[in-house]
Symmetry: C2
């Protein structure tokens, strides 16, 4: 029997500069001919989900608020953050970018019917729910024997890691720098780069993370907690020739430090001094915001540099469909190896609204990741 209702986590920004996240019951649309209904069994809380869930609120202000729903929390936004959130005032936005589950109902088309009973990974919002109706063609069908929990994280991290490599090739760079490199995503990226022979410079924040990455075979690991960090980074950049960085931290000066080290590396063998810096184009994309606060660009690296936002959705929109298919097929094939994810805790939909749990998962600490299991009470 096709489900007609589902519990969902909804986020709403209000005129009074607060955001509420609540568990609510909503109608599930009936699947069209080409749609399927997925029973969600696992959905990760990625850093990129936190922005939708909490709208960059001050996380020290999170409190339960039963006036909204039985399970709900409220938090306060600073005036600056509120300015960027005016577009979503009053809108109930269902949260959860991706997840894995089992197809339990399908539209009449052959493509939809063929998915009945299959384990699939899906993305596109509203994944923190018991059920999700989605187009059959948007499902990533995983090989026989894959558990729904293994399908939970098959889009955001795997395609972001593969997208970094594709972006590198498209923009004419030959090596990569990655921050927060010991993350699930960072580990995938190292495995891809090892397999594909791409020089990768990993930037981590702690010695144990450096050990972890070296254990994965990383040739270049630079630890920001070490006094020689900038020297190590410059040497690694000179050795790899990497001129493209992806920064997950966003806030602070790390992006600027990477550009400065790239410039130093480019000038190491320079015969003459160029008054406006090297002509080597240095690029860092900010794809996350693990650190709040502004990005600080010290501009000590000449004039051939760029910084910009990088978003998986935009990347997938801009590449040829055949390229997107190639990347997705690689994810499906390597879901239990290259693209295996690890979780530190599993919570229910209501458990994700427990302020103590929120305090934990909103830390966005490397190596710590929550999974929501909507089948749990």
């Amino acid at each position: 029997m096709t489900p007609t209702q589902t519990l969902q986590l909804h986020s709403t920004v209000h005129e009074d500069s607060t955001v509420t996240l609540a568990l609510v019951e909503v109608d599930l649309p009936a699947p069209g001919a080409d749609d399927v209904v997925v029973r969600m069994e696992a959905a990760p809380i990625n850093p990129s989900d936190l922005g939708v869930m909490f709208a960059r609120a001050d996380m020290s202000t999170v409190v339960s608020d039963a006036s909204v729903a039985t399970h709900a929390v409220r938090a306060t936004l600073s005036p600056e953050v509120m300015q960027g959130a005016t577009g979503r005032i009053g809108l109930a936005i269902p949260a959860g970018n991706e997840g894995g589950g089992v197809v339990v109902a399908a539209g009449t088309s052959d493509a939809a019917q063929a998915l009945l009973g299959k384990v699939v990974g899906i993305r596109g919002g509203a994944m923190y729910a018991q059920y999700r109706c989605i187009a059959a063609q948007d499902c990533l069908v995983l090989p026989e024997g894959t558990a729904p929990v293994d399908a939970a994280s098959c889009f955001v991290n795997p395609l972001t890691a593969l997208g970094m490599v594709e972006t590198m090739r498209m923009e004419g760079h030959t090596g990569l720098v990655h921050t927060a490199a010991a993350s699930n995503l960072g580990q995938m990226l190292q495995k891809i780069c090892t397999a594909d022979g791409i020089p990768l410079v990993n930037i981590v924040r702690k010695p144990e993370q450096a050990d972890l990455m070296r254990g994965l075979g990383a040739a270049h690991v630079c630890d920001t907690s070490q006094p020689a960090f900038m020297e190590d980074l410059t040497t690694a950049l000179a050795e790899t020739g990497a001129t493209l960085g992806f920064d997950a931290t966003g806030g602070g000066a790390l992006t600027s430090h990477i550009l400065a080290a790239m410039e130093s590396a480019a000038n190491r063998d320079a015969k003459t001094f160029s008054r406006y810096g090297s002509t080597v184009h240095k690029q860092v994309y900010v794809y996350g915001s693990l650190e709040d606060g502004p990005t600080l660009l010290h501009r000590t690296y000449g004039m051939s540099w760029g910084v910009g936002g990088w978003l998986l959705t935009n990347f997938l929109r801009d590449i040829p469909p055949a390229t997107a298919d190639r990347l997705k097929n690689r994810v499906a094939t390597e879901i239990k190896t290259t693209f295996a994810s690890h979780y530190t805790k599993v919570v229910s939909l209501s458990g994700a609204l427990n302020p103590d749990e929120i305090a934990q998962y909103s830390k966005r600490a490397t190596g710590q990741k929550y999974l929501i299991d909507p089948t749990r009470a």
Copy 2:
């Protein structure tokens, strides 16, 4: 008789984290067949010259230092700035990006001989000098009746202004935003945009600058000193559809404010809220550094944004030669109208080393510009 020596202003960064700027006599190379020797009569001190002259030193530390030369000054660099200047330690770099003068000697080629006696504008460093040897093809020959002083600023500001418009077209934008808009350069840009029918949003810092720009026919002027600045800017961006900015200030949050206002403008008519911001690509190039300190990016404008360095030299290198010729011809034709420059004070080569004068011209105040006349004692 071909001159064989010239006085020049040389800048040197030293191991002890100081920079010296000195007036020194050097040999002038004999012109090759295709070269000419220009007697320099006027060379502006542009903001872009200050970096070469003082290496981003702390300008409060400037003192005369006769141990270097009869006319010389010394200033101190902060550790951070010094890090970016290691490539030029010990190098004597001749200063002055552009200037105007008269061709007083020429190589044997017809092209060089044809320039004898002509008033030309030239660029490429070492312009703060009595004489400059340069390839004939690098001279911009000005129409009969142009004075050398009118030729002094015919590269940096005019080609930068024209380069902004070309960049806008090449990157698919349809309008421009410009900061420090009441500058010589900003006035040129307004005249170009008026002539070419390009929407331009001028950002100024004072009411009198706003009046000046409106007097030039500017339709959109936003004053950062006004409380309604962000609102005014957003409205101007919504009206013009400008999604490309050029920021002369560099330091501080102005670049970020422009991106935020572009995003607000893009979302004004949005029917739905996009969790990662609009998909309108918003770009700001930092082409100057009127404000010291880091560029602060608040990242409240989604993920479709870019910030980067923009340098005239790189732009001219990357465009087709025919495009460069078209731009230069326009400058020559309109040198006394669109591209006329104004100076607040004229100094000699040694006068440019007077600490009191340095304190003035290093302020980089809009509307204040020094000219060096190397023919003066």
